[in-house]
């Protein structure tokens, strides 16, 4: 299935990626080849086959609903860009 440059730009937008025009051209070509390769699945008869729901099925164990220890605020925020260690910060989104 061919894919257009417009579609590639649309997908990049959905994925929050900003592509250069060179990247758009390259990915358009590469994704077309890869998607073309995926087409071979069309011939597999999957009528009535349901995807596996749980990878580990009945072996799943639920933990007790009990409060346990967790990260401190300092360590949870230590890797955040910006902020002063007490909150996450992002560029302003509300007009002054």
């Amino acid at each position: 299935m061919p894919i257009s440059k417009e579609q590639v730009k649309h997908i990049a937008g959905l994925a929050h990626l900003k592509l250069t025009s060179r990247e758009v051209s390259r990915y358009t070509k590469e994704l077309a080849l890869i998607l073309d390769y995926f087409d071979q699945l069309k011939v597999v008869d999957t009528e009535g086959v349901e995807p596996e729901k749980e990878r580990v099925g009945e072996a799943l164990i639920l933990r007790e609903d009990k409060v346990g220890s967790s990260l401190t605020q300092t360590s949870a925020l230590a890797n955040a860009s910006g902020g002063n260690g007490e909150y996450f910060s992002v560029p302003r989104v509300i007009d002054k």
Partner: protein
């Protein structure tokens, strides 16, 4: 001359070189007080700095914590908490036999496994400065067993690649020839073990990222049953296939490392409950296996290069009394398409968390929120990661979900059933691990599809969630040099069938000798 005047010759105890020893031997020597864990760690760190640097195998060395760990190990040995096997067998205390199973053993760990105090980069600019606030469960288990974490190894960015070339920190080089790739995505771990810097390493697998480099570097590599090893602390790529996976130079070492890391963990909701057998004591066996030869894996035109090694393995095993049966796994050639729809789909979702807010890289000086997200992700991710995020987003997007993602999920279920049926007839399945020996750096980098096809023999079992092992068994001549390159033989077992994999690996190891 009176006796007292003869100069004393200092007594130098025989000190074996840890590089020539297996992990089991090192642990025994350390526990018996015949080798110092501190000395071994210092040697390993020095080698990682010199040899490891030449191979670009490590992203970070963990010197401070490694030296603190060895001090603890030596203290536990002196306090009698880690007891040598021979001594503990006499007392018949089985708990003591496993205490300190990896005492003083230097180990390298792939840089997508969380370890406090050092960056966990995933080979990406996005996480170049990210320091995890918690340890992965496997790290806790390694340290409890006395292992010494030497460093974090280089890898394809976010484990997306089969050559360890997509790393932000540059490609890993093959220990036999710097022009070759050691395989990937766990190439740094494989190179570090193959060069003898460490006897053991952890990597991670999604579609062959440990078995393929194990094959290329002449090592033992295990892909455990999905869920058998806790994924807590492993940075997610494709959550329905990801597994933490061990490398070793002998079958026994592999079994020991696996015994240490396997087992249920409440912190991973997909972790398997249930007991594991004693993988070490069952290594020696008289069991004769029924082994299936799937014709689809052997019909592959590419695999003729590695088939002499395969045929030799089959012949040796047949002579030793194991039986071979022709079996059929018709969907084998659909596995790559299936995997490369499902894995990017999950990756596009898993990697959505990298937006420059909570952790990792953030672009400088952007005052608009949306633009900050876009620029952060575009500057922080490399080519292959972007390609897979794009692919994944596409196959999950409106109008294409049924055609691609749902179709692939259904084919995956059929592939799982194919294995289930095959294992009604046979105990194990034998295949090549890879269609070729190690290829040149750069050879496949410009052709994504050619790179994806490297995984053709490892992806089906990853999709099915069943365990598989790559066993080094021989070499084939390199295409354009006088080098002989290792290739692995792969065995696939039913769900939770690791015991049989270690046994067949051990059998083959002895047949090779």
């Amino acid at each position: 001359m009176p006796l007292s005047q003869i100069p004393q010759i200092p007594y130098i105890p025989y000190m074996p070189d840890y590089q020539d020893m297996t992990a089991c031997q090192i642990a025994e020597y350390v526990k018996a007080g015949r080798m110092s864990a501190v000395d071994i760690a210092r040697q390993a760190l020095a080698l990682a700095q010199s040899e490891g640097h030449n191979l670009n195998a490590f992203i970070t060395l963990c010197e401070d914590k490694a030296l603190a760990q060895v001090a603890t190990v030596d203290k536990k040995v002196r306090a009698g908490e880690f007891v040598a096997k021979r001594a503990s067998r006499r007392t018949g205390n089985s708990a003591e036999i496993s205490a300190g199973a990896l005492a003083g053993v230097p180990i390298a760990v792939k840089d997508n496994i969380s370890y406090t105090g050092y960056p966990t980069t995933c080979g990406s600019k996005m996480l170049e400065t990210y320091i995890p606030p918690f340890d992965a469960t496997v790290m806790e288990r390694l340290i409890d067993a006395g292992a010494v974490i030497i460093g974090k190894t280089n890898m394809d960015e976010f484990a997306m690649g089969s050559s360890s070339e997509t790393s932000y920190f540059g490609p890993v080089k093959h220990p036999l020839d710097p022009k070759l790739s050691p395989g990937g995505s766990s190439g740094g771990s494989a190179a570090a073990v193959a060069r003898g810097i460490v006897p053991l390493a952890l990597g991670s697998e999604t579609g062959g990222s440990v078995r393929q480099p194990a094959s290329f570097c002449g090592l033992y590599g295990l892909k455990p049953t999905y869920g058998a090893v806790s994924r807590y602390g492993l940075v997610a790529y494709c959550s329905s296939s990801d597994v933490i996976a061990p490398f070793a130079r002998t079958a026994e070492d592999l079994a020991v490392l696996y015994s240490v890391i396997a087992g249920h963990d409440m912190r991973d909701a997909t972790s398997l409950a249930g007991d594991h057998p004693d993988y070490i004591s069952c290594l020696k066996t008289d069991r004769k296996f029924k082994i299936g030869i799937p014709k689809q894996y052997f019909a592959w035109e590419l695999s003729c290069q590695v088939s002499p090694v395969l045929n030799q393995a089959i012949e040796s095993l047949e002579k030793a009394g194991h039986e071979f049966y022709d079996i059929s796994l018709p969907l084998t050639n659909k596995a790559i398409a299936t995997h490369y729809i499902i894995a990017p789909a999950e990756a596009s979702s898993n990697l959505a968390r990298f937006d420059g807010v909570r952790f990792g890289f953030r672009t400088a000086g952007e005052t608009d929120l949306k633009q900050m997200y876009l620029r952060t992700r575009s500057e922080g991710f490399g080519d292959e990661v972007k390609r897979r995020i794009m692919l994944g987003t596409y196959v999950l997007s409106a109008g294409y979900y049924d055609t691609y993602y749902l179709k692939a999920a259904r084919v995956r279920e059929l592939i799982r059933r194919e294995f289930e049926n095959a294992f009604k007839e046979v105990d194990l399945i034998i295949t090549p691990t890879t269609p070729t020996p190690a290829f040149k750096l750069g050879e496949k980098l410009k052709d994504p599809l050619a790179m994806y096809l490297c995984d053709v023999f490892t992806v089906p079992s990853s999709l099915a969630g069943v365990p598989a092992i790559s066993v080094p068994f021989g070499t084939v001549p390199a295409a354009d040099s006088s080098l002989k390159l290792p290739v692995g033989v792969q065995f696939i077992a039913p769900y939770m069938g690791e015991k049989a994999l270690f046994q067949i690996a051990s059998i083959l190891e002895h047949l090779k000798e």
